[in-house]
Amino acid sequence: MKRLWLGLWMLWGLMVSPAWAHKPSDSYVTLTAHDGGVVDVSWHVALRDLDGELNLDANDDGRLTWGEVRTRWQDLLHYVRPHLRLSHAAQTCELVADSDQHPAVIEHTDGQYAVFAWRMQCPLTPGQPWSDMDVDYRLFALTDPTHRGIVRLRAQGSADTSAHETTSVVLGVDRPQYHAMWTGLLGQPVAKPIAPAASEHRPPQASTSAQPLPPTHTPHIDTRASQVLRFVHDGVDHIASGMDHILFLVSLLLVSVWRRGDQAIWSPALAGWQARAQWRSAISEVLRLVTAFTLAHSLTLALASFGLVSPPSRWVESLIALSVLVAALDNIWPILRAPRWIVVFGFGLVHGFGFAGAMQDLGLARQDLAWPLLGFNLGVELGQLMLVAAVLPVAFWLRRTTVYRRAVVLPGSLAIALLAALWLYERTADVSLGWLPG
């Protein structure tokens, strides 16, 4: 006992050193259901975790070679396979003989993972529709109770060209089972193959313990509807909290109730503007601008989100600042020669990349992006419309007044231009002016 006591004193540092510094152990499971009770399993398990259990590092040198992994592949399969069990309507799904894929590895954020893939057949009689399926996940339950399996459920009927994700769920010791509904595959129209929210119910609690501790995490299940709503919310939130996007739109809106006549660039500030007579004319101007902006940013947002292009964020952010600066200055002097909507389209392209940065922050990089993207876009639109609804009526009402011209548009545009210039400096020089909002 004495020795242990001495050991205890070494623990002083634990307090000041939060042991989080890596991600805890996870595995990634994708289950793709097809017509006829077939499920494709794809399972990524960290080599580090497998080594801890099966001592893959044959020569103990700390470096795992492909040879060390490959020659033990059968052992690995035999180890992991029983820890993931599927059953359909309480009947066990069976491994399809010889369906194992070749050994492979894949990179995740915290290292290399073994890729296991095989096919399972759930007991469906011909013509019987998928009703419900149970997933039972027990990997590393004995080794590491903080291990989690991130399980994605997807469906692909014979009419679908690609699989679509229906839901994802985090399983582990606290909650090893998940009851999934896969209605729609086989026997029913494939039009709505998605598990609706109402069909989900909690699996029975695996153990009833009198544990006085909170669970290490709360498992989450997102249905598609709630996922989309969440991203709509995030989209609105992004507009609401992104001052640069707001100010860009405000700059445009301020003068949308006016029409620009001929104005030389060296003429007095605001000289060329005349109030629009018709409400309709102002609305259609705003509509033109917002549509151009929306189309442009949707395009680049999609391109960036799918990883087809990824410009460095620093330059994107700098260009966004520049766009705000130019839009504000153009209110005062006509520095832009092209029609405004074309310019707005160009800047919309840049802003789309900015939104994409926000999307990735929401943790979307590796998910099926289509629905979140749509939701996020809707949210961004909604946020913009709210802004238009707030600004435009007031601007239209005041458009003929000197107050609006001299006390709102002029100082407003100047202030926005100044702020944008500072942002531009901050972002291109990559310094932080602590006092600057944004």
């Binding site: 002083w12 000041v16 985090v170 460095p312």
Partner: protein, 375 residues
């Protein structure tokens, strides 16, 4: 819609499975050195413990070693393995003393402070004459900002027969309670007199205090001494922070290159790349972004301090960083937590969002040169 044709493609950013061509290709570096005798012994001990699931002595031996390694390396997998060794008792409301002490240690390491406090308070009540639970209790109370109760725990440490730790505990606490300079002198005296085993413990306290007092050179010397003796991830990170503050980003890059597996150190490395305009910056930021996303995917929120810092300084998204820093401040209240909240609030143009910190700092009389500009 425009999106429709783009939706067909899957995310191109996800890595694809691959089959290495050569058997000799190293696919994963498990550690930078061969398996040590100690690790080998631990594995066989763990195997023994598994076949005797109710053997508390075996189980605690396995778990202590894992916790110790987790501290050095910062890998939460080891904490999970420690927890696994205690599985037989983990869910019990009142496990045996040793097991419960370990459970509290593991819980606080993963920032489950309330659950840890529940265990620790029960332990000190059960056997007030044993110091370790008091020491851990005082530390948790200090991190969560409950200074009065922490002070009592320090005093109890004295009564439990651990006078050196009691003094260190009290001095560290008083340095946060408006007596920083006195505490500094006290710690110097204590270091000279206390047993050598405590020097690491004391030097880290002194280094952090020197930083708060604005004595950068002294702090640098103390950190360097510590890191020469034994490099653990926490000290390395703290030293990197100091170097970054002093504009010595190049040294941070030299020190932390090769330690990218540790997220906390990768964060410092990314800041150093950003400060030196290194082209590795974008790549590092992307890696961190993916790691935070992966942690969030599993439902973790342990690392909000780091995530706030990443979001503010590297992603330059002050509003989002502010939210994270506020959530973090609800859980822990160390100077670094105060700093990130103040910084994020200022950057978000919402100074008032950090008023809670100002009240806290004023109430306890913290003196911290690094915070002065933000208060």
């Amino acid at each position: 819609m425009l999106l429709a044709w783009l939706m067909v493609g899957q995310s191109a950013q996800a890595a694809q499975p691959r089959v290495p061509q050569q058997d000799s290709e190293v696919v994963e570096v498990l550690r930078e050195r061969p398996l040590s005798e100690q690790e080998r012994a631990w594995r066989s001990l763990r195997a023994q413990a598994r076949v005797q699931p109710g053997n508390a002595q075996l189980a605690t031996q396995v778990a202590w070693q894992a916790v110790r390694w987790a501290r050095q390396d910062g890998d939460p997998r080891l904490l999970g393995q420690a927890q696994a060794a205690l599985a037989h008792w983990w869910a019990q409301p009142a496990p045996p003393y040793e097991v419960r002490l370990l459970r509290a240690t593991i819980l606080q390491s993963t920032h489950q402070f309330d659950a840890a406090l529940l265990d620790l308070r029960a332990l000190v009540q059960q056997q007030p004459e044993r110091p370790q639970a008091w020491l851990t209790l005082s530390a948790v109370l200090q991190v969560t900002g409950r200074y009065d109760e922490a002070q009592q725990a320090c005093a109890a440490l004295q009564r439990a027969g651990a006078p050196w730790h009691a003094q260190a505990c009290a001095l560290d606490l008083s340095s946060l309670r408006g007596e920083a300079s006195q505490a500094e002198r006290g710690l110097d005296v204590l270091t000279a007199r206390a047993p050598r085993e405590l020097s690491g413990y004391l030097d880290l306290m002194r280094a952090e205090l020197a930083e708060r007092l604005g004595q950068a050179d002294r702090a640098v010397a103390l950190y360097q001494g510590l890191l020469l003796r034994e490099s653990d991830a926490y000290t390395e990170g703290a030293y990197a922070d100091l170097l970054l503050e002093r504009g010595r980003a190049n040294e941070v890059i030299d020190r932390l290159k090769g330690r990218e597996r540790n997220d906390a150190l990768l964060l410092r490395l990314a800041e150093a790349y950003a400060a030196t305009d290194d082209q590795a910056r974008d790549r590092t930021v992307e890696a961190l972004r993916a790691r935070f996303a992966a942690a969030r995917e599993r439902g973790d929120s342990v690392h909000r301090r780091e995530e706030a810092r990443f979001t503010l300084r590297l992603l330059k998204r002050p509003q989002q960083a502010l939210k994270l820093a506020q959530l973090n401040w609800q859980v822990q209240k160390e100077p670094a937590d105060a700093r990130i909240l103040l910084e994020a609030a200022r950057a978000a143009g919402n100074d008032a969002a950090a008023d809670e910190v100002r009240v806290f700092v004023r109430r306890w009389g913290w003196s911290d040169k690094r915070l002065e500009g933000w208060l």
